[in-house]
């Protein structure tokens, strides 16, 4: 094994991001889609942190805090929507929720 460089983090981030993106596209359960979105966000966080460490720049870590705050807020809104949907109908797949069709 060679020396631990930030490239490993970047590759790992890319892999996690891709898993999240593919998951988002193929799954229909809104809850799972949510988790995929979280995966993607955290993959990005990972690259930020990795680069901040590798380049010795605190800016990347600051960005991570922003992303985490935004993600938390987004989860609150998103879960509230999911709960509201679950109350009105049993079970939820995203493809059923197409009332906003043009």
């Amino acid at each position: 094994m060679g020396e631990l460089t930030h490239n490993y983090y970047l590759v790992l981030g890319a892999v996690v991001f891709s898993i999240g993106a593919v998951g988002l596209l193929v799954r229909r359960n809104p809850l799972v889609m949510f988790m995929c979105v979280e995966l993607m966000l955290n993959a990005v966080n990972l690259t930020f942190v990795g680069l901040a460490w590798g380049l010795n720049d605190i800016g990347g870590q600051v960005a991570v805090f922003f992303v985490m705050v935004v993600a938390a807020a987004e989860v609150v809104v998103g879960l509230a929507i999911v709960v509201a949907i679950m109350r009105r109908r049993d079970g939820a797949t995203s493809d059923d929720l197409s009332a906003l069709r043009g």
Partner: protein
């Protein structure tokens, strides 16, 4: 005190609003008094404004009073602001002054009308609009008033709209004025596009920096607007028809105020007109010629009209022509002077004619008037003053102002100026003639109300002939019948004598009992023979009598026909006598004789007296003798960009004045010989072609109703299909495009996510490619 100017348009507006809300409840006469009070207050405010302005010195007498900013668009801004200067103050003084008198007059004139309060509502709205037109400091605000007076004019011409003719006269006025308004609007656009400002002070101030085509274009387009409102050829057509409205309307709107707004507008932009005179003289010369041409044209028509209001209508067109002539030759003071004097005497004449019509049971035909000065002394006296004023008899008002215009025309230089003057002079002669004709026909001579018309006499004669013919036909029918009876009687007699002979022969051949019966048969045949002989004699007598009667009837018919064909028109000035056909005159003639003309009530005659006073002394405003007496000229000077200098010598002025007086005198004398002394046949001047207005109106109407309709239909088609089609086409394209694109909005979140992913990948690829290159 200049701030009182705000009250001037505000009071009529308040009067209008009150009448809109409570007019019906106020009723007669309260609504009329309220409206009159509103205008009266407005007049007082105008007087106070005048004194306020007078207390300022010369050049300071041009004040702009801004109410609020109306149209702010980038650098361009239009205010609702009043331009208070000597010109606008002179206008508001006479608009509100004459307006008050005419409102007062209307209280009596409209008595008993079912839409009494509505009439005053319109009058107040009209006055408000007129004041906005006059006071506006920019073309747009003036245009607002311009359209306001146009709309009120339309409402009031067709005030008695249940009569089809009145309604279509209103429409004609409205439509004809649109042509002029087009000119006004395009002029405003042109000023906006080239100068970037439409207020009068800027326009007049920057006139010298405008290019010649622009300044000429603005002036000529505004002149098109003036042609419509001030009834100049070829757009004058609506004014004679506008007389369908109530007479106070004719006096206020169609003689004194609204129709002068074209002249006012041109005077308002006198800075532009001055530049045009300097650089493109043909344009102002065109204005002068249109003016004087209209003056002459309308005067020739007025000569042959029999409707008392039509004469005054054509006279108004003619006098407006004078004012336009004055504007064209640059004599703005003379134009305004004549405008004010004309407002005095023409309002007086119209109100006087209204009083006559009111007293004559709504009959407007002057041929049925005559001798009214004994029955309506106040109306006659004031009307005669108005007549002397318009005919140019010194020292009445019209003489001074008309003389100023003719002098201006003469002085405008060259042969052209002399020609303008000559046409104006001929018009003055005709004016004196037709106005004298009107006065003589109405107030002097014999009372002709119960005379039959020529057409009624013709009717009586044809009824008489028809009656004689019917008598003759029935008499000859009776003669034929009795002759037939006589023939029958002769045949019967012959038969009876035959029967008698047969009876005798029969008796000779029989004997015994039969002899007795044969004898009886002979006796019977004998009796029959005797009675048939008597019948023959009787029928012969009646047949002879009937044929004699038929002969008499046919002779009588012949006599009647001979009398009919031999009958000649009445001697000049004598009534048209139906002679032996008199008993066949239509009943209308006898019904008319029942009517007795009467003088009008005091609130109709009081305005007449005031206006007559003004028509006598009005000339004081601007007496020509010394510089010190030119009050109006000195007053107006700050509002005029350039002083108009008269070069003519004192001697020339005197000669011109005397020639003008002589022309007026000739007109009056010829009219007196024709209509008072009956030494000349009126038909010599009252030509059918003049009565028909040279056929111009008829030709235009025929065109508009015939081939014109197709043209306008084509334009309407173009508008509906091409113009609307373009607008609708854009809308349809957008809608159709939308209905295609909306399919992309599937509502499936994951397909949106796919779109975002693919898009991001595509963007990434694009960035890489760019950085690699």
């Amino acid at each position: 005190m200049i701030d009182f100017v705000y009250l001037v348009p505000l009071l009529p507006l308040l009067g209008f609003t009150t009448l809109v809300l409570f007019g019906r409840r106020l009723g007669e006469p309260a609504a009329g008094w309220l409206a009159t009070a509103a205008i009266g207050g407005s007049f007082l405010s105008a007087v106070l404004t005048f004194f306020g302005l007078r207390s300022l010195e010369g050049e300071e007498r041009v004040v702009t009073k801004t109410l609020f900013e109306w149209v702010p668009v980038g650098d361009f801004s239009v205010d609702v602001a009043f331009l208070v200067d000597p010109l606008s103050v002179a206008m508001i003084l006479f608009v509100t002054g004459i307006g008050t008198l005419i409102h007062l007059y209307s209280i009596g004139y409209m008595h008993g009308d079912e839409n009494y309060s509505k009439f005053f509502l319109y009058l107040n709205l009209f006055t408000f609009s007129m004041l906005m037109l006059v006071l506006g400091n920019n073309l747009l605000l003036t245009f607002l008033g311009w359209e306001g007076v146009g709309a009120c004019s339309y409402f009031l011409i067709s005030f008695w709209f249940t009569d089809e003719a009145n309604a279509s006269a209103g429409k004609k006025a409205f439509v004809t004025n649109r042509v002029g308004d087009w000119g006004f609007m395009v002029a405003t656009f042109l000023a906006f596009a080239t100068v970037g400002s439409i207020d009068y002070l800027t326009l007049n101030g920057t006139a010298s920096q405008m290019s010649t085509p622009v300044v000429t274009g603005i002036v000529l387009l505004l002149f098109v607007g003036a042609m419509g409102k001030s009834a100049q050829f070829p757009l004058y057509l609506w004014l004679p028809d506008a007389m369908a409205g109530p007479t106070p309307v004719s006096a206020l709107i169609h003689a004194a105020t609204m129709v002068t707004s074209g002249v006012y507008l041109l005077t308002r932009v006198n800075g532009l007109l001055y530049e045009v005179t300097e650089r493109a003289g043909w344009a102002t010369n065109l204005i002068a010629w249109v003016g004087v041409g209209t003056a002459l044209f309308a005067a020739t028509i007025a000569v042959a009209q029999n409707d008392i209001k039509k004469v005054l209508a054509y006279s108004t067109v003619s006098q407006l022509g004078y004012m336009i002539l004055a504007v064209g030759v640059g004599a703005y003071v003379a134009a305004i002077f004549h405008m004010v004097m004309h407002a005095f005497f023409k309002a007086l004449l119209f109100l006087g004619s209204g009083s006559v019509i009111h007293g004559m049971d709504n009959d407007q035909d002057m041929r049925r008037y005559g001798g009214l000065q004994k029955l309506m002394p106040i109306t006659a006296g004031t009307f005669i003053i108005g007549w002397l004023a318009i005919a140019g008899v010194p020292p009445f008002a019209g003489f001074w102002s008309k003389d100023e215009i003719l002098l201006g025309a003469w002085d405008s230089g060259g042969l052209n100026g002399k020609a303008l003057w000559l046409v104006g002079l001929i018009t003055a002669l005709l004016t004196a003639f037709y106005m004298s004709r009107q006065v003589f026909m109405t107030f002097f001579g014999r009372y002709r109300y119960n005379d039959p018309d020529a057409s009624e006499v013709d009717e009586a004669w044809s009824a008489y002939l028809a009656d004689a013919e019917a008598t003759s036909v029935s008499a000859s029918a009776a003669a034929a019948e009795t002759a037939q009876a006589h023939t029958d009687a002769i045949a019967a007699h012959a038969e009876a004598s035959e029967a008698f002979s047969t009876a005798k022969i029969d008796a000779a051949t029989v004997s015994g009992d039969d002899e007795e019966s044969a004898k009886k048969a002979i006796e019977a045949a004998d009796r029959a023979l005797t009675s048939s002989a008597e019948a023959e004699v009787e029928t012969k007598e009646s047949s002879e009598a009937a044929s004699a009667a038929a002969t008499t009837a046919s002779v009588a018919l012949g006599d009647a026909q001979a009398a009919e064909s031999a009958r000649s028109g009445p001697a000049l000035g004598e009534p048209d006598d139906a002679g032996e056909a008199a008993s066949f005159l239509p009943e209308a003639v006898a019904a008319r004789a029942e009517h007795h003309p009467h003088e009008s009530p005091w609130h109709m005659t009081a305005p007449l007296v005031v206006l007559a006073g003004l028509s006598i002394v009005g000339g004081i405003l601007n007496l020509p003798f010394t510089k010190g007496l030119h009050f109006l000229e000195q007053w107006l000077e700050p509002a005029l960009a350039h002083e108009h200098v008269v070069n003519a010598s004192a001697a020339t002025k005197w000669i011109l004045a005397f020639v003008a007086i002589a022309a007026g005198a000739v007109g009056i004398l010829v009219a007196a010989q024709t209509y008072l002394q009956h030494r000349r046949d009126p038909a010599l001047v009252e030509r059918p072609i003049l009565a028909d207005a040279w056929g111009y109106d008829r030709v235009v109407s025929a065109f508009m109703g015939g081939p014109g309709t197709k043209l306008f239909d084509a334009i309407a088609w173009f508008d509906a299909t091409i113009i609307d089609g373009m607008v609708n086409g854009v809308a349809t394209t957008v809608r159709d495009g939308g209905s295609v694109v909306r399919r992309l909005q599937s509502g499936f979140v994951r397909s949106y996510a796919l779109g975002i992913s693919l898009g991001s990948v595509a963007l990434l690829v694009w960035f890489f490619v760019r950085t690699a290159a």
